[in-house]
């Protein structure tokens, strides 16, 4: 069984299914080395480029967040001007969603999906490179607006219309400079890149699988990435279309969102959130995907309810297409509209609940190893539940009318984006870093990173709910001292700085471990999926022989020929 299902042992450098050929790229001079990275079409290199690009912007947008928090730490603060404050929260939101979240998750997808399905590359390597450079162009364009644009009333340069850019503020009459143009074109450019990568991931997962990998043997990570890519295809189209309409309004004098000529600002809100809500799931499904791989390995148990997990992911993707107007309850809809979007939003909690219980059931009775990735995964589980619960609260339209655009909403979505997604991104870094570099990440630094992150996160985002409940609106640059928000806001700022220190420790760990980390070997976690069946880092061709699988855990079959999974399928 094992000899048929895995590459034949003993042929040259391939031993027991693992190719020990070191990953050698032509080194040459440093100029040739850089040139090699720029013209590369290797999915692993492009994946790393995506991640580095996103990490740079994570630091940039993190600094923007810190400046926002310094301004709000005490009432009547004058750290930044109101105009600069508008630019900061616009750039922070846009950067974190389009230049950090999407690329870092696509980076992991690029790196891992072909390895996990036993392929040698993505379905379209050159499309892959094109998509990355389009995304990078979008990011550079957005930040070029600091030099090239003129904002509201000629007061600044970067976009200052918030990340959802509600019309008619974005119309030529109210935003006369070029900042909105930079914003729109940057998002169209990075959107084209994301659509290209989504097409690529779907084609890879469904067309490039190795021998024996039927649909129900695909590891959950490629499954969820395919689902997420499908959702991205459906969500990014409306965004691109809406940006196109905005450009028509601004450059050709169209009237889509021009309320003075009969256009509709509400239509923009609909179009934006038809993109905006599925986008949340585009970001969170990869986080689920990481949890699906990491939690079983460190619980030493197979994932509980594999097929239910697949079904729940596809279910989340479908339901999330019909919930967008819960961002718009205060815009004034019919009572039928309010009831529909309240109920459809609550419906999302059923498949996500299935997932949560499946993760708990996977951990239950397992022989848990508290490694750094597992710590982040456990924190993710509890934080994701809390984020989901405040989400259900906000889905009730009557409650939403009270809290719309308050800091309660800000706290809720940061609980999702930081507490769930960013925590799982960190877990994924600690888990797959050995595969990408051949070295383990430092464990002590990892513990410091984890505990500071948890403390800082809860200090910031638990407390942020309360100013919201007390009536503090989002996107205000300062506030009166007699509202009872002072202490809370100060502590939130302190928490933000603790998180910043944690992220700096993480960044240092990435660099430090690259040079001084312990040798990882091909399979440091004793894991079961195919990416661990090749050297670390993998050779450019991934697998010397095309792998062949007979179950969901091919490496378990290889290591335990006396009790293979394939006997139970």
């Amino acid at each position: 069984m094992s000899t048929e299902s895995m590459p034949v042992p003993g042929t040259g450098a391939v031993e027991a299914g693992i190719d020990h050929t070191p990953a050698t790229y032509e080194r040459g001079t440093w100029l040739e080395w850089i040139h090699g990275w720029i013209v590369t079409v290797d999915h692993k290199r492009l994946g790393i480029l995506y991640m580095l690009y996103a990490l740079v912007f994570l630091l940039v947008a993190g600094v923007e967040a810190l400046m926002i928090r310094i301004q709000l730490a005490i009432p009547h603060n004058t750290f930044v001007s109101p105009f600069a404050f508008n630019r900061l929260f616009t750039m922070h939101g846009t950067t974190m969603v389009f230049l950090v979240g999407m690329p870092i998750l696509f980076g992991f997808g690029n790196y891992l999906v072909p390895l996990m399905i036993g392929a040698r590359d993505m379905a379209f390597p050159r499309l892959n490179a094109f998509s990355f450079w389009m995304s990078a162009f979008g990011g550079i364009l957005l930040y070029y607006s600091f030099i090239g644009g003129v904002g509201l009333a000629g007061t600044g340069s970067a976009p200052d219309v918030a990340w959802f850019a509600y019309a008619p503020l974005t119309e030529k009459a109210f935003s006369p400079g070029h900042t909105v143009d930079y914003w729109a074109v940057a998002i169209i450019a990075s959107g084209i890149g994301s659509i290209g990568t989504s097409i690529n991931i779907i084609a890879t997962v469904f067309c490039m699988r190795c021998k024996g990998m039927t649909l129900m043997r695909i590891p959950l990570l490629p499954w969820l990435y395919a689902t997420m890519s499908f959702l991205a295809l459906l969500a990014l189209g409306p965004l691109t279309a809406a940006q196109g309409m905005l450009m028509i309004d601004r450059y050709l004098g169209g009237h889509f969102f021009d309320t003075q000529a009969g256009g509709s600002a509400i239509l923009w809100a609909h179009f934006f959130w038809i993109f905006g809500h599925p986008e949340v799931y585009v970001l969170v499904l990869p986080a689920f995907a990481f949890a699906n791989e990491i939690i079983p390995v460190f619980s030493r148990k197979a994932i509980f309810g594999y097929s239910a997990m697949v079904a729940a992911s596809v279910g989340i993707a479908f339901i999330s297409l019909g919930v967008w107007a819960h961002h718009m309850f205060t815009i004034g809809m019919t009572s039928f509209g309010n009831a529909f979007f309240t109920l459809s939003t609550m419906l999302v909690s059923i498949p996500t609940g299935i997932k949560t219980f499946n993760w708990l059931a996977t951990i239950w009775g397992g022989r848990i190893r508290f490694t750094t990735p597992m710590l982040f995964s456990i924190a993710f589980l509890s934080q994701w539940v809390i984020a989901g619960l405040t989400g259900i609260m906000l889905s009730v339209s009557a409650w939403n009318w009270q809290l719309h655009n308050s800091y309660f909403v800000v706290a809720h979505f940061h609980y999702v984006l930081v507490g769930a997604i960013l925590f799982m991104i960190f877990a994924a870094f600690y888990y797959w870093y050995p595969k990408m570099t051949g070295r383990m990440m430092n464990k002590t630094l990892g513990r410091w990173h984890f505990w500071l992150m948890v403390i800082g996160f809860h200090l910031t985002f638990d407390l942020m709910h309360f100013p919201g409940l007390l009536g503090m609106p989002r996107q205000i640059y300062t506030y009166e001292p007699d509202r009872g928000w002072n202490t809370l806001n100060f502590l939130v700022t302190v928490g933000a700085f603790i998180q910043a220190i944690a992220v700096l420790i993480f960044a240092f760990n990435l660099v430090y471990s690259y040079f001084y980390g312990d040798e990882a070997g091909p399979d440091p976690w004793d894991a079961w999926t195919l990416e661990w069946a090749t050297a670390s880092p993998p050779p450019p061709y991934n697998f010397a022989d095309e792998p062949s699988v007979a179950s969901r855990r091919p490496l378990w079959d290889l290591k335990h020929p006396e009790d293979p999974d394939s006997a139970f399928e």
């Binding site: 069984m1 379209f124 989504s198 084609a203 021998k211 499908f230 409306p238 279309a241 004098g253």
Partner: protein, 197 residues
Amino acid sequence: MATIPLQHAPDEVLHQPTRGVMAMACLIIAESAIFTIFVVAYLYFAGHDVTGPHPRDVLEVPYFYTVCLLSSSFFIVLAEHAIEHARMGAFRLWWAITILLGLTFLYGTATEWRKLIFEDHLTIHTNLFGTTYYSLVGLHASHVIIGAILMLFTLVFALLDKVTPRHAYNVRVLAMYWHFVDAVWVVVFTVVYVVCR
């Protein structure tokens, strides 16, 4: 190791779709989402104009050009069939007819726009009808142009004998895109010239 029963023969055939068709299907899904938004905007704003010109006064139904575009889907199927059976002469003929029909359709759009702009004084700036009409029809026409360019390249290479029956699969993927462009026109035609006129 020898005692492990071979429950699943690893050489069982795995049925996977081909990646070109898969990618084109995904592109069509993404494009459909874009067109849906423009169609929704057209329907949403239909009849909301206070100033003219209105669609019923200026729009003429392009029956002939619609027949041209839709029939091109038939000819491209003949072309696909021809290249699959290695009949390159027939392929070039049907392929050229498809392109001609596409170009005829574009000529129809151009004359229609010329009439609207110079005789009826309707531009994208005039009113909501102008904004939504030119964006939706223009978005579709730009897809026809892209398709026509891709097919022209294919024709040139076919005439130079660079496209051979080995490329039947690539031709089929390109034909998928052309069928999509035609199908979108059915929707655009229904919305612009039937429902909202």
